[in-house]
């Protein structure tokens, strides 16, 4: 303990440990959904480590990239395939845990005061993570990589006035080319992960100020949590968390070893060819719902585009759309129904996103897109009703 004393004198570590861990209390009335924040961090760590190892053989050059991934890393480097599969599965599972983490926040009203900043920084993390996944997907320079980048960058063309020039600027060429690959590489490997780390730090700091929300959505003071209604983050909460993590890792590595194919599209094993679009292209599963909103307004391209952008960002405004005084969905019967319709609709859109956008599917996509927005638009109305109820009940 001498070393600790020495360190404490210089860095006040004892105080830090108390504030951050042993005297930071988590409510007792939370469930396993509250372990997903730490799971997100775990997956992020896995992505960083596996990323560093594939980076050691990856070559960011339009002529070399495809072979450096599909030959060197996959066939020549000992266990190279393991790190690539881990990285690809990790990216996919990242969005699964993120979606659960976000849905938890929506259901239990964790986005409401005093946690707006937690929500907003969280949302920024979601956007950054999407950008990281998108830029990373181009790097293997396969057909899916190429055409995903080509179509998504083309979206910017529709911005009034500057659109066409902006697209050329983003690509550094008239089409997606070597210049695009190298800049996406820089963003994916350095810039975006750096921002992710910074915003994760702010996010965690922001959770620590009001403390975690709970199933009942009724705020607990630190004193209440210290005396019976809570548990210390370290070691009690984390002990449970380690259990959840180990179960999660079994699932995760089961996917890496036996089911990795879902994260590696077969079309992407053909090298990029800018003169030939594959006959059926679609984004990775985690973007399908938003993609379906884009296609859902099949009769107007501009409407589709506006709806697409809106669908990606509208949830960021939840704290101002839902102003009901009741926080947790547990005590909001109508909200509960709306919430589950919304989740079902999201799954529905995800499935539709992979089907051809013709005939009945086109109309179903349109209907699904409307339901998506209806959830958010119903919230201000529901808030009004609930406000009256609460006022009347007192």
């Amino acid at each position: 303990m001498k070393f600790m004393d020495w360190l404490d004198e210089r860095l006040a570590v004892r105080q830090l440990i108390k504030v951050m861990l042993t005297e930071y209390y988590v409510p007792k009335n939370i469930n396993f959904l509250w372990s997903f924040g730490v799971l997100v961090m775990l997956v992020f760590a896995i992505l960083v480590v596996s990323g560093i190892f594939v980076l050691m053989y990856y070559k960011p050059d339009a002529n070399l990239a495809f072979d450096s991934v599909n030959k060197t890393i996959m066939m020549d480097v000992e266990y190279g395939w393991l790190f690539r599969h881990t990285h690809a599965v990790g990216a996919s599972i990242m969005f699964l845990v993120l979606f659960v983490h976000m849905a938890r926040g929506i259901y239990y009203g964790s986005f409401k005061a005093p946690r707006e900043i937690v929500w907003i920084t969280g949302y920024i993390l979601f956007v950054l993570m999407s950008a990281t996944a998108f830029t990373g997907y181009l790097l293997p320079w396969g057909q899916m990589s190429y055409w995903a980048a080509q179509t998504i960058t083309t979206l910017f063309e529709k911005i009034p006035f500057i659109g066409p020039d902006l697209v050329i600027w983003i690509r550094g060429n008239y089409i997606v080319e070597d210049a695009t690959l190298t800049r996406f590489f820089a963003l994916h490997v350095v810039f975006l992960p750096l921002l992710l780390i910074v915003f994760t730090a702010i996010h965690l700091y922001a959770v620590r100020i009001p403390g975690s929300n709970n199933e009942d959505g009724i705020e607990l003071t630190k004193e209440e949590k210290k005396h019976g209604k809570g548990i210390p983050f370290w070691p009690v909460f984390m002990a449970k968390e380690f259990f959840v993590m180990s179960v999660f890792l079994i699932f995760f590595f089961y996917l890496v070893f036996y089911q990795y194919k879902f994260a590696m599209d077969p079309i992407n094993f053909t090298p990029a060819n800018y003169l030939q679009t594959p006959t059926h292209i679609y984004p990775e599963w985690y973007f399908l719902a938003f993609y379906e909103v884009l296609r859902g307004f099949f009769f107007s391209q501009n409407l589709g585009l506006i709806a697409f952008v809106l669908s990606m960002f509208i949830a960021a405004f939840l704290p101002w759309l839902d102003t009901s005084p009741i926080k947790s969905g547990k005590y909001r019967p109508i909200y509960k129904i709306l919430f589950w319709i919304f989740i079902a609709d999201f799954v529905f859109l995800t499935i539709l996103g992979k089907l051809p956008p013709t005939g009945l599917y086109a109309w179903l996509g349109f209907a699904g897109s409307l339901v998506f927005f209806a959830f958010f638009l119903a919230l201000p109305i529901l808030s009004k009703i609930e406000k009256k109820k609460v006022a009347g009940g007192r």
Binding site: W169, N173, R183, Y274, T277, T279, P356, T358
Partner: protein, 168 residues
């Protein structure tokens, strides 16, 4: 005296702020410029293509600035058009879907282009006839020189089309 000191400090702060803004502006501008296409990309020359080599009913693809240009020599059983036609029988269009930039495929049996991405369709003149594409396939800048077509240069025929708003 005290007041004067404060105002002098304010002045310094503003001056420093302005100076920093100049610096930040300069840095951002420099960053912005690094993302522009390289000279070798910008200078990508025009492409010349001998269209008499295209057989009736055949379609050839020229590569201009990395973009495919479809050169179709129409046959009488295909959709006909006067305004978007070159030498009365050629359709010359950028092979990039006006929806989201995929490359449509020519379906010889139906005599249409079909876009694999979201099911858009164009007739033999490049006009959008089905699906999300908002407008016909673009006509690239061209100039006719005998049997040759020069892509990337604006000849009189192209300028005429452009004036009528038919090119994009």
């Amino acid at each position: 005296m005290a007041e004067e000191k404060v105002s002098r400090r304010d002045f310094l702060l503003y001056a420093m702020g302005a100076w920093a803004a100049v610096g930040v502006g300069g840095v951002l501008y420099g960053m912005y410029k690094t993302w522009e296409p390289l000279p070798e990309v910008k200078a990508q020359a025009t492409v010349t293509f001998d269209i008499s080599t295209v057989q009736p009913g055949e379609i050839k693809v020229a590569n201009w600035r990395g973009k495919p240009v479809f050169i179709l020599r129409r046959t009488p059983d295909m959709t006909q058009c006067k305004d978007r036609s070159i030498k009365d029988e050629y359709t010359v269009v950028l092979g990039i879907c006006t929806h989201l930039g995929c490359i449509p495929n020519w379906e010889a049996d139906k005599k249409i282009w079909h876009c694999p991405c979201h099911g858009g369709e164009y007739d033999a003149c490049g006009k959008n006839i089905f699906g999300p594409p908002p407008r016909p396939l673009d006509v690239p800048p061209f100039k006719i020189e005998g049997n040759n077509i020069v892509l990337g240069e604006e000849g009189p025929e192209y300028k005429q089309m452009k004036e009528k708003g038919l090119t994009a």
